[in-house]
Subunit: 346 residues, 2 copies
């Protein structure tokens, strides 16, 4: 992807992120009392790409398939003639995402998130639990109020609930894997499907559910998000190891030093690479040169190229799902976003 393409995609993401942020502000600001409000706002204010709501908006444009400017996210018309506020619906996805970050940080005892102290560090664990809980219910409230009550809204809410159950099971598996010596590639892929994939899947499918599109359109978008989400996660695993700490914004190789199971550690272990020397001492971070040696070993074992190919295959499969949808610039953008996030440097 050349610089011009990257810049075009970044602009497309940025313009949609701006309106998502305005909408999110209005919903998070309804939370009270004071300390709970601040804690719920903390990670939202700290930043974030808003990739899930932005994917939702672009998927809505794709299936709406009309050349409208400005695009009427707040007044899209569904299959029964009812007005849908797609901006509210999209925002619900980020509320779920922030809830998972807050609770995951408690469970993983992570002190930093989005460059600021995690919520339980900044406030306390009790406040962080409650902030996650209220963002969770605000997500369902926001989605439930995004259109007149209808079978479409009912379907979308139920689908989001199933996704949230999946995310919890994915997190439980991730925690469990940290205590296991051997995890198979299949088990790992299932875990990231649950922990990461399904929320991207719902992000892409939500507009089709709310607009009352046929099941095959909903399924195509769901599978697009599911495959893309897994491709992103595997590429993230790669970046954690191959990007300098200064560019990554956190300690390079933290997955390895924290003994987390990733596609890389599993493939490397299966290929006979000894990872123990990189995480024997949990209190000291591996140096950049340690990491360079590890990357070299993983290149020799074929691990790096295996992960690159897997991420690439998943993103190709993701993009193929879009063929069922109307061909328009928004569909191209969905496709480009997958390439962008699976080819980026950090």
């Amino acid at each position: 992807m050349d610089e011009k393409d990257s810049s075009r995609i970044l602009d497309a993401l940025s313009s949609r992120r701006t309106i998502v942020n305005q909408c999110l502000t209005s919903h998070i600001d309804t939370i009270g009392p004071d300390q709970l409000s601040e804690a719920s706002n903390h990670l939202f204010i700290a930043g974030g790409k808003r990739l899930r709501p932005v994917v939702c908006l672009i998927a809505a444009e794709t299936i709406y398939n009309q050349d409208l400017s400005p695009f009427p996210y707040q007044g899209l018309i569904d299959s029964t003639g009812t007005s849908v506020n797609m901006l509210d619906a999209a925002s619900s996805l980020e509320l779920i995402h922030i809830f998972t970050l807050i609770h995951d940080d408690i469970m993983d005892d992570d002190d930093l998130r989005r460059g600021v102290p995690s919520v339980h560090q900044k406030f306390n664990t009790n406040t962080a639990i409650l902030a996650g809980d209220i963002l969770y219910s605000k997500a369902f409230e926001t989605l439930g109020n995004s259109a007149e009550h209808s079978s479409n809204v009912s379907r979308a809410l139920t689908s989001l609930a199933t996704v949230c159950s999946d995310i919890c099971e994915g997190q439980a598996l991730d925690v469990q894997f940290g205590k296991m010596d051997l995890v198979s590639i299949e088990e790992y892929l299932r875990m990231i499907e649950l922990k990461t994939g399904v929320l991207f899947a719902e992000s892409a499918a939500l507009p089709a559910q709310l607009l009352g599109q046929p099941p095959e359109v909903i399924d195509a978008l769901y599978n697009f998000g599911l495959l893309a989400g897994k491709a992103f996660q595997i590429y993230d695993d790669l970046l954690d190891l191959t990007t300098p700490s200064s560019v990554l914004g956190k300690q390079r190789g933290s997955d390895i030093s924290e003994q987390k199971q990733t596609i890389l550690t599993i493939h490397a272990t299966n290929s006979g690479v000894d990872l123990n020397s990189f995480h024997n001492d949990q209190n000291s971070c591996p140096s950049e040169s340690d990491m360079d040696s590890l990357v070299e070993a993983l290149e020799d074992s074929g691990t790096i190229s295996y992960a690159h190919e897997l991420s690439h295959d998943l993103s190709t499969q993701a993009k193929q799902q879009l063929e069922l949808l109307p061909s328009n610039p928004s569909r191209e953008l969905l496709s480009d976003i997958v390439d962008f996030f699976c080819q980026r440097d950090h």
Copy 2:
């Protein structure tokens, strides 16, 4: 209420509790992996009255107003001819209730619940957070799948989400009040309305929402539950102080020794009673004779009779809400349940 009446009400609660338990088992058993499943099951297995789902079922019988035996909870027909599984819908309320107990116990650092170690004590805090989270989403999934997707289901899901946001705000206020010297009666009543009242309100209103009843019926049942829930909570505050520990199943006067704000402490403080002598030493529990002296002081200050009257007034107002509904034995039972829980010994 005489012994015969009490026995009739207990039988009515018990028979419905049995079928609710069967339904809950089938939903909680879908949770995986192993440790998360055990943790999610822990408080459910430990017991509980299932008062919220049982109230939901009796409210359903009241508005359905047909003499059917056995009552077809799993095949009730809504205003559009769609079949509703009211047993699933009712179960979702208990899933929310158990979620709140698990997270509240972490926040309040309570070691015991329903006579067994709390979930974070039995497992660990991380597992307890995640068990609460998955029960939360299972509740929405269960309710969302209780009937074909429709505007009625959408309304019920959105209403449950709003109730959950209210519960979180109520819990935040409860925590906040524990650090405040002065809380007004109005502030306290608002807190218990949010923390306890709204879930009872939703329990009573849910069948009317799902069956597509007119707004005035939904509102009457919602207000019935809201007022009854507040009456129950105030009566609970009274029982905490006036019932011997052996009967209560936990330390008598724990609200006072833990310096929790209740309707009693607020009224007593406003009436010039010095409560400090009862909670100066947080490490030692007050003795039964200390508690007897306190009760005597609160009788003299009019606090006990004030709380009794308030609980009685709220339960009277709750029962008045039922006048709009069809007059039948189930409506009588709803009314009797309020009296039963606001006149019981423990």
